[in-house]
Amino acid sequence: MNRRFLRQALPFLTLAVVLAATFYVQPRTMSYFGLNLMLQYAVPIALATIAQMFVITVNDLDLSIGPFVGLVSCIGATLLFDNPALGVLALLAMIAAYGAVGALIHIRNLPSIVVTLGLSFVWLGIAVLILPSPGGKSPEWLKAIMNVHVPYAPFPIIAAIVIGVVVHLALMLSSYGVIARGAGGNPKALSRAGWSMLKTKVIMYMLAGFFGVLAGLALLGLTTSGDAHVADRYTLYSIAGVILGGGEFIGGRVSPLGAVVGALTLALAGSFLIFLKISPDWQIGAQGAILIIVLALRALVSYGEQKR
């Protein structure tokens, strides 16, 4: 048995198991409407997970993605609604800010965990300044996109597949994606070959910012009003999603398809736990348990691989 294949298949198997368990507990979810309802919040989580994945690709970790997504939802519900041009400009500035953070982390050789942890409070602070209490309005077009009805398959599934495939093409198959992943695998080799590590990091952080913005807007389209704290849990969700999807914290080993599947699994696990009537207080613990089980399985597979 090819263990590498097994390891890559593990995220999909996990999703299948959680899906099957959900269907078993609550057979009515096995419908267009049921899946749509269960998975709609998977879209912003998947986008945030992809954002996190870009940062993890270059061996960093982003602890600010949750508050960042919250800030985007606040900007979207106020500036973007009142003055679309200014709103778009603000969102572009936020992506640029992400690039600047990447440059700072690289040039000053700072630990990304510390920098982004500090930034998470900055994003939250700005969001609270913009929107002290939940409110504002989502632009109509956002609501329309997020509630679009696709025939045969629910929208969240189509969206997840599109996100996964597009990022997979860009990161895993394109020639520049090789450079990005190489930057995580062996930065020295890359700069010896004449590539700029600074440029690579800035690009990856800006991609993270871009997908963070998409996640915030998607979330706003679903909630229809802004809230600074709406995505606080996304930081942990996104990291867990990348790791569930077969990614590793260091070494440039990531999988976009896996990350999307990991995000779907997490979103589904939430619903599954509700169907089991586990109180929300225990949910995060239960999700952690799922994560630990999957990681243990993966460690088992990798262990066998080394022993070979």
Partner: protein
């Protein structure tokens, strides 16, 4: 003589006070294989990094094909001018496939179908250099054996997309290759140079250099000291050129012959010869860097296939990663090895601890007004003294030293040498890995390591640079 591929004039490079290159002139002709030899620290690696654009020299000029290169010579510029380098520590991304690693060094490999082109490129080159290599372009590097990784990297250096291949620098290219692949590579180097590319071959296997290179340059102390046709060298004359004039030995006769054996260990990494160190003896471990000396020390320290009488202490050479506790005071750094002896009723006796730290500050002459200052307030040499104090203040009878004088100034060294001698007189045993040949003059005996095994054992009257080099550069009988 053919046209020149690359020329260096008066290249200098300093790292702080250390002068790694002291004015190197080097010309490599197109279609030539140049052998580059020299002892550790002779400046070979620095020179390579300058040639490959990864280090900017402090002074000197570089010319490509006879024309001075007046822009900044960077890694990207070197790539563009067809200068490639296979470094000793591999420069492949372990998380990428062989074909993807090819893409990293070839900018033109992009757009639709780049992967197919990269696959074909590396497959063709691997087949050409190493028939029956057993590597697929879609193998991930992490899944390949170390020898296969080296093959992949060497083949990658010889692949061409646009522009021409001007110069390939191979640093110890055969270190992980089996004998057959090594021969295949050397044969290929001859074919490639016949086609007009230049190759610089660095190897500690002098047989390889003598049989493959057209011309041999010997480096010593950051300068080239000999530059002749390969046919003008023999093994012995090459070794003689690398070494320095004989040094006087002020060591007394070997004492300790009948003393108790404190340590005996056999390297797990190879060979049948075993190491022995007697009471009061200073035993040197030498040979080229990275041939198993540090592993030997760790093996003794971890009690694996080694027997010893008495407690051990270890003095690390890499202060920053293995030595000092950055956040602690000088005193704490000194006493940490002796805390067990400083206990009083289960707690640390602070007064005794302060006394011990103060005493060793005096004895080692650590230059600080107060041992309660942070360890990082000390200069590198004084930090190293504190690490010596940590080991010497302890109850250890056997002290293992892992090239502890790295980056230590000469004055401090002399003080520490005297200290080591005095402690040995008192009956302590030292096992001392050193990369500096002069330091062997402080040893009673030395073991020369090669490929993880003990290649030779030198007595006190044999501790010469020439003997050591002879044993390090073994004839490769492939």
């Amino acid at each position: 003589m053919a046209s020149e591929a690359i020329r260096l004039d008066g290249v200098e490079k300093s790292f702080g006070a250390v002068r790694a290159l002291a004015g190197v002139d080097l010309t490599v002709a197109a279609g030539e294989c140049l052998g580059l030899v020299g002892h550790n620290g002779a400046g070979k690696s620095t020179l390579m990094h300058v040639l490959s654009g990864n280090l900017t020299p402090s002074a000197g000029t570089l010319a490509i094909a006879g024309k001075p290169y007046d822009r900044q010579w960077t890694a990207a510029a070197a790539q563009a001018e067809g200068v490639r380098c296979v470094f000793q520590e591999l420069s492949l991304c372990p998380n990428l496939t062989v074909a993807e690693n090819v893409r990293i060094v070839h900018r033109p490999l992009k757009g639709l179908g780049w992967k197919g082109r990269a696959r074909a490129l590396i497959r063709q080159k691997l087949d050409e250099i190493f028939p029956n290599h057993g590597i697929s372009p879609d193998d991930e590097i992490a899944d390949l054996a170390i020898g296969q990784r080296q093959m992949a990297e060497i083949a990658r250096a010889f692949t061409v997309t646009d522009g021409k291949l001007r110069l390939v620098i191979l640093d110890e290219p055969t270190s992980s290759l089996d004998a057959v692949s090594a021969q295949q590579l050397l044969a290929y180097v001859k074919r490639e140079t016949a086609r007009g590319a230049a190759v610089i071959l660095i190897s500690h296997l002098l047989g390889e250099i003598l049989s493959t290179a057209d011309r041999i340059v010997v480096m010593k102390d950051g300068k080239t000291v000999a530059d002749r046709k390969a046919s003008g060298f023999t093994r012995n004359s090459l070794v003689a050129a690398m070494g320095s004039e004989a040094r006087e030995h002020k060591r007394g006769a070997a004492r300790m012959a009948g003393a108790e054996v404190m340590v005996s260990a056999q390297p797990r990494s190879g060979g049948t010869a075993a190491l022995e160190a007697r009471k009061g003896e200073i035993v040197g471990l030498t040979g080229l860097a990275g041939h198993g000396q540090t592993r030997m020390l760790l093996q003794i320290y971890e009690h694996r296939q080694a027997s010893m009488k008495g407690a051990l202490a270890f003095i690390a050479g890499d202060r920053q990663s293995d030595g000092v506790f950055n956040l602690w005071s000088i005193g704490r750094n000194i006493t940490t090895r002796s805390l067990a002896a400083l206990r009083k009723g289960g707690l640390i006796d602070l007064a005794a601890e302060a006394r011990l730290a103060g005493e060793w500050k005096q004895r080692m002459a650590i230059r600080t007004p107060d041992v309660n200052n942070n360890i990082l307030t000390l200069s590198g040499g004084n930090q190293q003294k504190a690490l010596f104090a940590r080991a010497l203040a302890s109850d250890a009878a056997i002290i293992l030293m892992d090239d502890p004088m790295r980056g230590v100034d000469i004055g401090t060294k002399q003080e520490v040498y005297a200290m080591i001698r005095a402690e040995a007189e008192k009956g302590r045993t030292f096992v001392w890995y050193t990369t500096e040949i002069e330091e062997l003059t402080h040893c009673d005996r030395a073991y020369v390591f090669r490929d993880g095994a003990i290649a030779a054992s030198l007595g006190v009257d044999e501790l010469t640079e020439e003997k050591m080099l002879q044993a390090s550069f073994a004839e490769h009988t492939a």
